[in-house]
Symmetry: C2
């Protein structure tokens, strides 16, 4: 039986999980692969802290480059993170002709253009399944299961923190700030939650999915990103429910002929659909493709063992290739098609709009007139009981499909009109 | 660039779908695999009927063995079905050293013990991703993504006909017979629906998933199978909803130490969970594994193009292996562990029980006494308004966990008691 030696760089949360999984399920993996995959080295600057994994102390080292260069190590697993030493080690491994498994989204986003061609040149595998979706096989599915499909749409709930906050706001009717604070105390949100709640983490993951679907390398700085902070209030969740929707933070990826729509926004999705059922810290990707129609992949988008599960799946793929003396021809698709990123203003959608207008004769007519002037038509509208304490009424409008540019012009005009109270809230709808 | 030639045997529904997909997305697949996968031959007894796919008539032939033996054909795709000529062709292809992709569940179930070892001996791939779950990558996920996990539980909604019927019964409050008839008229159910509605199709698929998870080859004739016919009525769907559940036909696979529970039964699942959201003809598998926790795979479990999508995914895997001069070491896991199939009477579950009892003093007490005597305890109970027309009352009981044997003894005793009206209905609950 072929034996493959694994070296882990970075004995942190995920590194310890991968070590634990490789040790626990070594025999199960052999049943399925016909290969004995052995954990042989773990490198970390700190090799004294107890990680809760029973590893032979003799395999621990502080010298990561020695692991990369050890002839007993066939697969290098980079779990250090960041773009400093992690990049040097990944490049060194590839240069040494060794395949790399990594969960380092940032490294691939910033240096993928350097690392993927180098791996291709050296003829080694680079696998990165855990960089998007943690324990969910969304990268694997785009690459393998759906390989024969043109991808039409991807909706991704890709950030557990945001989904936990939205789910809790919905269940408990609490405002964003209170739920965020609770989430921070429970360890479900970072002390600085910007990357999560303002949508950037979702955007980076969406960009990787778009790269896998279309072979494009989008510049994330040019993309439209809206998070949930200052965008979704508990009352919007309640009103959306009255129209049969839930609100989720989505990465939205769509192919329109030769243009790719790629953006992140809190979005209304049908309450009786699969995406609406994704609760708490769970993640999911709903992919519509030309042959397979809708498929959905659901699971834990983060966390030590789910992420380790995906890393180990990649290690097994690499081990199979090594045992067969081969490697994968393409880490990322290479397209000859010329895709353009869609201008955010051209994106078309239906919208949920909440406006606060003076509780006086003519206010609704004025509001409706501004929508009409911008050619944004109503699909449904509902005036809620006015709040007598401040003299403003809340009106919810569900629009027919319109361009983002028209919607923005409408919102601006309403905000500037004398009838308007608090700034309007506007969220897209994907049915 | 490497070129791989594909030959399709069987130009029926799925065969035509695979041909259409290979032609339409040839360039997309090359982007992703670096290989040019070319459809070169299609064999069928009928090569004159229009299948709605624009194939060059020169590639059509009535001689399937000529396709298998054609040196231009690198991958043989068997979509004839059954165990007659299909088996001869698959064996001939493997004997000729050619990898096979098939969606033929029956062939693998009946002759897998012959075909898998032959493929291993000849060193060729045999892929069968479309044999369970149509367009859903459940086989691929068990084999690859979850390779590092011990599988703890699989719940599969694997039959679109049953799920369509249950969903329609729920939405429209109609009885099984009426919905079945409508489904037959709409083409969602066969004229003889036995394989579907009595659970056998789900059982065969569950057996393949158990084989992939544990390396066992269960004899399906020894397994417990309950379908939805005569088991689920519209009123049960309504009552289940009152307790927060929906009813789905599930393949249930669980590992208990060295025993594998494998059965098919209509089952109550939480109404706010992912399985409950799987509506209509859609299928899903919810897998709980030791590292990855819960993951779910959802999509169309049947149909021409979704099934073709999975077949094409397998063709791409085989093409990659061929281009690299290799093949997969294991088509099915080979275990040294000795698993036993669990005795159906030992299976433990919570239950939903509907009993019809005489609307008279002491009936409820007698019923409760029979449960108590068999050590089956109540978690919840609800007596519905009695039907004055027949003098019987309906009582719904939700039990704590108990063995199937205890539950069966309880039901038998109730049915035989003088207080009892119509036979009790009993469905398991999986939370």
């Amino acid at each position: 039986m072929k034996k493959i030696g694994v070296g882990i760089l970075g004995f942190g949360t995920v590194g310890a999980g991968v070590a634990a999984g490789l040790i626990k399920n070594r025999e199960v993996m052999t049943e399925r692969t016909g290969i004995d995959i052995e954990l042989r080295k773990i490198a970390d600057l700190d090799i004294t802290t107890d990680r809760g994994v029973a590893v032979d102390p003799a395999i621990l080292t502080t010298d990561a480059f020695a692991v990369v260069n050890d002839p007993e190590i066939d697969v290098v697993v980079e779990l250090i993170g960041g773009t400093g030493i992690a990049k040097k080690l990944v490049v060194a491994a590839i240069e040494a002709g060794k395949p790399v498994v990594t969960a380092n989204k940032k490294l691939l986003a910033e240096y993928g253009n350097e690392i993927f061609p180098l791996a291709a040149e050296k003829g080694v595998d680079i696998f990165f399944g855990a960089s998007v979706g943690g324990g969910i096989p969304v990268i694997r599915s785009l690459r393998d299961g759906l390989v024969g499909n043109e991808i039409e749409t991807i909706y991704g709930i890709l950030n557990g923190t945001c989904n936990y906050i939205l789910t809790t706001m919905e269940k408990e009717g609490l405002p964003f700030d209170v739920v965020l604070k609770n989430a921070q105390e429970l360890g479900f949100a970072e002390a600085d939650p910007t990357l999560d709640v303002d949508g950037f983490d979702t955007l980076h993951k969406g960009a990787i999915l778009a790269a896998l679907a279309y072979g494009i390398q989008p510049d994330v700085h040019q993309l439209s990103v809206e998070g949930i902070r200052n965008k979704v209030e508990a009352e919007d969740i309640k009103y959306a429910a009255e129209f049969g929707y839930k609100i989720k933070l989505l990465a939205i990826i769509k192919k329109h002929e030769d243009e790719i729509e790629l953006r992140v926004a809190p979005t209304l999705v049908p309450a009786d659909g699969m995406l609406a059922s994704v609760s708490g810290v769970f993640n999911a990707a709903l992919i519509k493709s030309d042959l397979d129609d809708k498929t959905l992949y659901y699971g834990r988008g983060a966390g030590r063992m789910p992420t380790a599960s995906t890393v180990i799946g990649d290690i097994a793929d690499v081990a199979r290739n090594l045992a067969a003396g081969t490697h994968r021809a393409t880490a990322m698709p290479v397209t000859k098609r010329e895709f353009k990123l869609m201008d955010p203003g051209s994106v078309k959608s239906r919208y949920y709009v909440r406006v606060s207008i003076k509780d006086a004769a003519g206010s609704f007519a004025t509001t409706a007139g501004i929508f009409a002037k911008n050619a944004v038509s109503f699909s449904a509208a509902m005036q809620k009981d006015s709040d007598s304490s401040n003299g403003f009424a809340t009106v919810i409008i569900i629009t027919h499909e319109t361009s983002k540019a028209s919607m923005d012009a409408t919102l601006k005009e309403i905000a500037e009109n004398a009838i308007s109270g608090a700034a309007p809230i506007c969220l897209g709808i994907e049915d």
